[in-house]
Structures are given as C-alpha cells and as structure tokens.
C-alpha cells in the first residue's frame, strides 16, 4: 500500500531516526553481547560505560538494567550558554552545530594511506549525544534526545529535570521564532539558496511543509520572469561570441 505522506520526514519519523543516536549507558547488570541485525552489541560489564543506540538504552533503562548518562550539552550550564548565544550573540542565525568528532587516523609509514571509512557520517551516525560530546552545542537531534531522556531517564540528569525542561522550553521558543523570521527573508529568495545552518531535526519537520511551500510558490510566481532572464542572458552570451569572431576577422 502506498504511503500518502507529503515529502519529507514527519515528526514521528524524525523521532524514530533520533533513536539511532548513540548515548552512553552505565550498566547495572551484566549483559552478554547480542547478535543484532546492525552488528553485535558491546558486552555490558558494570560499572564500565558503553555506547548504545538510544532505543536500546531506553529499553535497558525501563528494565532497570542500566542508567543513561545525559550528554554534556544537556546540562543547565550548557543550555544557558546556548540560550545566551542564540539571543544575544547571534539573534538571527541558529547557534553552530557541534564540531564533528576528530577523524584523524595516525598515518603509518609504509602503509597506503586509507581515507577514514567513516568519512561521510552524519547524524544519527555521527556520535553527538554520548558522554564525551562537547557541551555548548546543540546536535541535530537535540530536542528528540532531550525529551526522551527527560521522560524516561529524568533521575539520571545532573540537574533537576524541571530546571532542564524549563531551559529547553526557552530554547524551543527562541529558535522557533528564528525559523519564522527566516521565512520572511524568503521574499528576497530570488537568489536560489538559503542556509539554515544549525537548525534541528524537529524544527525542520515542523516547518518543512510551509517553508518549502513558500519557496515553491515564489518560484512559480517568478517562473516567467526567470525564463525571460535566462533567454536574455543566453542571447547576450551569443552576441558576445559573435562580436568575438568579428574581432578575429580584423573587422
């Protein structure tokens, strides 16, 4: 049966995607490695931390077999820092996404240098929610991961969940306002490109239909004008070529 959804991931699908993000768990019980379709899970030996995908971490947490370490960016100090950046330092653009974890591999003399096999990774396969993720940056799936951890691992938070939740609300508001004002900038969208560096997955999912609808509408309204412009540019180009050949003839 065909899927009647409009193009682009909907919120529930984004949440599903976010559950693939790796988080750090602290096991409370020993668990042998399980042979999953996506590979073997690491052996869990308390109290040694291990990275697991969020969906599995949540499963373990629900069964009280592990605790989840909240990522450093979810700490109130970090969130306040980000809010400050979003409001005072750059009120128009979204705050920068986290720098990618270092991919440098020590090169070995005598060995052919092999490009890192994980060269083209991106969220949710680029770890940004583990215990060694940098503080002060919101990763792509920040809202989904934050809400999941608050709902199911609130007791693992470094600060009272209420405090974290309040800060998250503020962040959501600030960034939603930015998303809205970016659509007003679309009037000048004669230029063909718009960057939304730092935007989050859920924020995209919510505004996607509308934003793309406006962009497509502007394009269709301007379609004739654009076609005329291209024809003129092409003719202008051809005229230059003709003029060039006249010069060659010494005329």
């Amino acid at each position: 049966m065909a899927l009647p959804l409009p193009p682009g991931l909907a919120q529930a699908e984004v949440a599903f995607l976010a559950e693939m993000e790796l988080v750090t768990v602290v096991p409370r019980q020993r668990l042998e490695s399980i042979n999953l379709l996506s590979g073997r899970t690491p052996v869990l030996r308390p109290p040694h931390r291990a990275p697991l995908p969020l969906w599995l971490a949540l499963l373990l947490k629900k069964q009280r077999r592990a605790n989840i370490v909240p990522p450093p960016w979810l700490h109130p100090t970090s969130l306040s820092q980000i809010i400050h950046r979003e409001t005072k330092e750059d009120p128009t653009a979204f705050s920068a996404p986290p720098p990618p974890p270092s991919r440098a591999h020590p090169s070995q003399p005598g060995m052919a240098h092999r490009p890192a096999a994980d060269a083209n990774l991106s969220p949710p396969f680029l770890p940004s929610c583990t215990a060694d993720a940098p503080a002060g940056y919101l990763p792509y799936h920040w809202l989904e991961v934050a809400e999941a951890l608050l709902a199911h691992a609130g007791d693992d938070m470094a600060a009272p969940p209420g405090e974290v939740r309040g800060l998250l609300r503020d962040l959501v508001e600030v960034r939603a306002a930015k998303m809205r004002s970016s659509t007003s900038a679309l009037e000048g969208f004669g230029g063909g490109l718009m960057s939304l560096r730092g935007v989050g997955a859920m924020e995209l999912a919510e505004s996607r239909g509308f934003v793309l609808g406006v962009v497509d509408g502007v394009r269709r309204i301007g379609a004739s004008a654009e076609a005329t412009r291209r024809e003129e540019e092409e003719m202008g180009g051809r005229r230059e070529d003709d003029e060039g050949s006249d010069d060659d003839m010494g005329i």
């Binding site: 508001e173 809205r180 659509t183 509308f210 609808g213 509408g217 269709r220 309204i221 004739s224 005329t228």
Partner: protein, 199 residues
C-alpha cells in the same frame, strides 16, 4: 502544469476579456446577437483555455496578413486597482473575492504575456501574506501552549479573532494549501510532544 490537476483545470476555466480581431460569421450569439456576424473589435469574456488557443492560433504561419483571432487583456482580478491595493497592504486584500485561483490565474497570464510589475508585486504579496498565514495557522493549531511568552511574539495589526477569520476567508487556493501545511506541521509537533511522555 499537471494534466489532471483539478486546480489547474479550474483556473483555466476563469474568464478573461478578449477582443476579436476579425469579423466572424454566425458567432454573433456570443454577444447576444444570434444569427448575426460577430464584428471585429467586439469584446467578450472567454474562458482562459479558449482565449489562449484563439490568441495563439493563426500566428504561426508565414502569411503576413495572418493575425491572431483575438487579443486579450488581464482579467479584472489582476487589474490596476487590485495591484495598487496589494502594494499598499497585501494582507488587507481578500484575494479569494478576486478569484479563488488568484495566483494560478496570475501565473498563467504571466506565461502568456510579460508582466514585470505584476510579478514583482505578487511575489511580495505572496510572502507577506504567507507570514500572516503561518501566524494564524499556529494559533489555530494550539501552538501557544507555552503561556504568556508565546503571545507577544510578533506584531500583527490584524489582531486575533474576527479580523483573523476575515483574513483567512480571503485566502486563495494556493494560500489555503499553505495554511494546511503550516497547521499540520504545528499539530504534528504537538502530537509528538504529547506522545513522548506516554511511551
């Protein structure tokens, strides 16, 4: 445009003013003059699909005498008074009263003849009204659940309630689709937020 698109078909049924360039025998009934010849120079409203065909036909030949059967003008929905009103305040013009397929009609007309000023005005109109649409879609979608903070977000001199409803009633088909997209996005967001607790 898509062959089967209903909006496209309906748009093409809109009438535009045409001027016949030739005397055409027996077509007098179009001008309430049955069994008379339709005189050159007669102005009649014809549906866009027909006007387009009559305007383009007969103009491809090499015969210098050949001219198009009709010439056409912009429909009143895209007339100067509407354009001036849009320049003044795009949000105050109920586009749907001009035509339920306002933008569709306009883009089709702009395909047929160059209308630079119209294109520029309509782009600005579309985007300005789009921001307004988003504002209303959020209110209807119940997005202001974050309390007082959300209320003061942007100034809208149309206000909430009655004036808002009037604006929404004046949306053309393109804008209605935009509203639905904005509304659906907000609603899905709220649904997801609520569902996180329940998992």
């Amino acid at each position: 445009m898509s062959y089967y698109d209903i909006d496209s078909i309906l748009t093409d049924a809109e009438k535009i003013p045409c001027t016949f360039q030739l005397d055409i025998p027996d077509l007098g009934y179009l001008d309430n003059n049955p069994s008379h010849t339709l005189k050159s120079g007669t102005r009649i409203q014809l549906p866009l699909w027909l006007a387009e065909m009559l305007a383009i036909a007969n103009t491809g030949s090499l015969d210098e005498q050949a001219k198009s059967f009709v010439t056409f003008d912009l429909p009143s929905a895209l007339g100067n008074d509407v354009v001036q009103a849009l320049k003044a305040d795009p949000r105050a013009v109920p586009l749907r009263d001009q035509s339920p397929h306002f933008y569709g009609l306009a883009t089709h007309m702009m395909d047929l003849s160059e209308e630079q000023e119209l294109a520029a005005v309509l782009r600005k109109t579309f985007v300005t009204r789009a921001s307004e649409i988003a504002l209303h879609a959020r209110k209807v979608g119940g997005a202001n659940q974050h309390g007082a903070k959300g209320q003061a977000d942007e100034a809208s001199n149309l206000g909430v309630g009655g004036a808002g409803e009037e604006f929404l009633r004046g949306l053309d088909e393109w804008e209605r689709k935009l509203f639905r997209k904005a509304h659906d996005g907000t609603r899905a967001g709220k649904e997801w937020m609520d569902s996180v607790k329940k998992r």
